[in-house]
């Protein structure tokens, strides 16, 4: 039946498709001994790529907790779905576009945003917020500036145009990302619980409909590229990158929303990585159906496209829909109104096979289940990361706290990201109640006084030092950030970025981090509902820091009670909640250690999950009772960095009690499970009294006021100086002047 007579698959073909000999053997088995033709080989290769099949991580992903009474749909669909009350659902996911963004930062990042948006609106949700977690190489690396500039404008260029606010994210710099930047994008959408759309196809004879942009020769083999390590020649290869068209995406959102409001759709799925191949296979496979496609009907942008190209193209802004019988005319009218392509390109069958025809001739015939479900799953060998010794504060150089504070406030990992977020429209849709710059972004649920709180976090240096603790910490930091604005954390999405899993130490990082994520999620009843894995982030054998980025979502039931980090008025009492008595300050893997002492060592701060939950719930209750005037959780840089961020945000200083010794440990240690709150002076002692019987450590740190950060011994740093350092680094760096 082959369309390519005499075309024998050569070992070179197999290799160029990223398949191992063993995998090829399995293909022959599935085909009953027959050799595949090139179209079929291409389909196997993308379906079995790491990117689409999760073959290295599947075994471990299965261990993650995915259930809670509010989870409507966990991992496995295009995005995760949770119940947020009032008959509404939040639908969200995070996804990487790392390799394309390194090769072409603007388009790579832009199409990353486009892809994750489609994952969310394909389920019936209107996207209401975008987030992004970015990692770049050292600021000194000659490529970094251009990559930052391109990625940020690409994210903005796409999100701003489609009209979804980009409300938060994170940015880190580290030399381990010099050759492999990370661009992780997250979208959160809102849907009616009774209007959620899934991807399982049903109904033999139902039309398979293609909508959106035309298919071109873009990004053929993008999915396999995302699954291979970069070599020295990768910059020369210059694989075709896709160009995004946010205008078309906007039309596609509106057209899909309009169609979804009718009763025409049986199932729907976006065409993401591996385009038509993976979308049609997944839909058919999930529904136990077969499918026949007539490829000449696929809307084509270029002349002479082959079946191979059409099946593997990664052209953007396309969706596949199974319509209910007789709904074609209705659907066509909507897509034509929005000036989008619409074509019936085939129909469902009950054969369980995918039959591809081109001008009547069969060009591919594959069994769906063995291919889609029986994709390889590896139990790759792994070795656990050796635990590092705990570094004592006494063994770390102490410098004048004012100098250390200035260094930290202006260092690349803490400096204000204003330069980044001011390029994002964070207020379109007019529901943004908390813009970038705080702990979690807060987006109002339209027409209500409720809101979603969203945060993305990961501290890769902790994960490198101890994958298990680092995995826990990433989850817990999102949970804390949501808590700090007064939200109830509900569920997470994850984006697991690692090096080459075929190396046992890297596989050990993956296993450790997933176990840590799982432990934190279980303890906090904060399940994983969607996620994405990006492996092989290595260049010439140098892997990135293990970076399991977490995106958390929670709800705020009463927006009037929402807190922000800004000090609100002079004279408020500052409380530190969650500091364990014994701690003299955890400096191992801290930014103080790296930026001030010039060392990257030691065990990272441990995460005590019981403590986290106890403290977080206490803080949230205070906020929800309307007793907190400002709140900030402590993370990078520790206590005094957190306080400075609060002071800068409110343009009000503070007067602090003597922190005790060792001062650098007390001020800059990165002990976990802590929040700084301000409260009205009259309420402070009541809070202390309430905390004691439930074993919540609360310390009075001082009071707000003035225009400086002042310690009891009267040494001070002015907010004006700190602001200049904090706000100055990014713009100065990007202008090329430092």
């Amino acid at each position: 039946m082959t369309s390519v007579p005499n075309a024998r698959i050569t070992p070179a073909d197999i290799k160029s498709h990223g398949l191992s000999e063993e995998e090829y053997g399995r293909i022959l088995e599935i085909l009953g001994g027959r050799e595949p033709n090139l179209v079929e080989l291409g389909i196997f290769s993308v379906m079995w790529s790491e990117h689409c099949s999760y073959k290295s991580s599947k075994k471990w992903l299965k261990t993650l907790p995915t259930k809670a009474s509010w989870v409507i749909c966990g991992p496995g669909e295009n995005a995760g779905v949770i119940d947020i009350g009032d008959g509404l659902a939040a639908i969200f996911k995070m996804e990487s576009h790392n390799h394309p963004s390194y090769i072409e930062p603007y388009q790579g990042a832009a199409t990353g945003v486009g892809g994750i948006l489609r994952d969310v609106f394909t389920m019936g949700a209107r996207p209401i917020a975008n987030m992004n977690a970015l990692r770049f190489g050292s600021p000194d690396h000659p490529k970094t500036r251009r990559l930052v500039s391109g990625v940020v404008s690409g994210i903005g260029g796409y999100g701003n145009c489609v009209g979804v606010p980009t409300v938060g994210g994170e940015v880190n710099f580290h030399p381990s990302y010099n050759g492999n930047i990370l661009v992780n994008a997250m979208t959160v959408g809102l849907a009616d619980q009774n209007k959620i759309f899934y991807s399982a196809a049903a109904g033999a004879g139902n039309p398979v409909v293609y909508v959106g942009s035309k298919t071109g020769r873009d990004g053929i083999h993008g999915a396999t590229m995302a699954s291979a390590e970069f070599g020295a020649d990768s910059e020369e290869k210059r694989p075709t990158v896709q160009v995004g068209d946010p205008f078309t995406e906007k039309l596609l959102i509106e057209a899909c929303m309009e169609l979804m409001a009718t009763d025409a759709i049986q199932s729907i799925q976006d065409m993401g990585a591996a385009g038509l191949t993976s979308s049609s296979f997944e839909m058919a496979s999930k529904g136990g159906m077969g499918v026949q496609l007539d490829l000449e009907k696929v809307p084509q942008r270029e002349e002479g496209m082959t079946p191979y190209e059409m099946m593997l193209s990664e052209s953007q802004e396309r969706m596949l829909i199974i319509l209910k019988p007789g709904k074609e005319a209705l659907a066509r009218k909507i897509f034509e109104k929005w000036e989008l392509d619409f074509a019936v390109i085939g129909h469902l069958t009950d054969t369980g096979r995918m039959v591809l025809k081109h001008h009547g001739e069969v060009v591919g015939d594959l069994p769906i289940d063995p291919l889609a479900q029986a994709s390889p799953e590896y139990d790759r060998p792994w070795v656990a990361t050796e635990p590092l010794p705990v570094l004592h504060a006494a063994d770390v150089t102490e410098v004048d706290w004012r100098d250390a504070l200035k260094t930290l406030m202006g260092c690349p990992d803490i400096a204000s990201r204003r330069w980044v977020w001011e390029q994002y429209d964070c207020i379109v849709m007019a529901d943004t109640a908390q813009r970038p710059g705080g702990d979690a972004a807060v987006v109002r649920i339209h027409n209500t006084n409720r809101a979603l709180a969203i945060s993305t976090d990961c501290t890769p240096r902790y994960v490198k030092a101890d994958p298990f603790e680092g995995g826990k910490q990433a989850v817990v930091e999102t949970w804390r950030n949501i808590t700090a604005v007064g939200g109830k954390p509900l569920a997470i999405t994850d984006n697991l970025n690692f090096g080459n899993p075929e190396k046992p130490p890297i596989m050990g990082q993956i296993v450790g981090a997933i176990e840590g994520i799982g432990a934190a999620c279980s303890h906090l009843n904060y399940p994983v509902v969607s996620g994405n894995v990006s492996l092989y982030n290595e260049t010439n054998g140098n892997a990135i820091l293990p970076t399991p980025a977490i995106g958390g979502v929670g709800v705020i039931d009463d927006l009037d009670k929402m807190t922000t980090v800004a000090f609100k008025a002079p004279g408020d009492v500052i409380l530190l909640i969650g500091q364990k008595d014994t701690a003299s300050g955890w400096l191992g893997q801290s930014l103080y250690l790296r930026e001030v002492a010039g060392r990257e060592e030691g065990a990272p701060p441990p995460v005590d999950l019981k403590h986290e939950k106890l403290i977080g719930d206490f803080v949230r209750n205070l906020i929800q009772a309307g007793r907190v005037t400002a709140c900030h959780d402590l993370s990078d840089g520790g206590l005094v960095v957190g306080l400075t961020e609060m002071a800068l945000a409110g343009n009000i200083g503070c007067l602090l009690n003597d922190p005790g010794v060792p001062r650098h440990g007390r001020l800059f240690g990165e002990d976990q499970g802590r929040y700084v709150l301000t409260v009205k002076a009259a309420d402070a002692t009541a809070i202390l009294r309430e905390a004691e019987p439930v074993n919540i450590p609360v310390q009075m740190l001082g009071v707000t006021g003035g225009k400086d950060i002042v310690l009891a011994d009267e040494t001070a740093v002015s907010l004006a100086d700190l602001r200049q350092l904090h706000e100055g680094w990014f713009p100065t760096y990007m202008s090329g002047k430092n």
Partner: protein, 80 residues
Amino acid sequence: MKARVHITLKNGVLDPQGKAVENALHGLGFGGVSDVRQGKFIEMKLKAGDAAAAKKEVEEMCRSLLANTVIENYAVEVID
């Protein structure tokens, strides 16, 4: 010395702008138009000594900044 640079999208690369312009032109009644592609046109003055050196320099500029060679082609003309 002056140089003129044309930067155009490579064949096969999607040109959302060109597409939108083409649709708008059809909407305005220019029905006979097709294959609209939009590129950039950059003019500059140069201090270089001779045309050959100037051309080389501008080509270097294209590679390092003006064009994104992953998706774009460039063409340089030098005019005395």
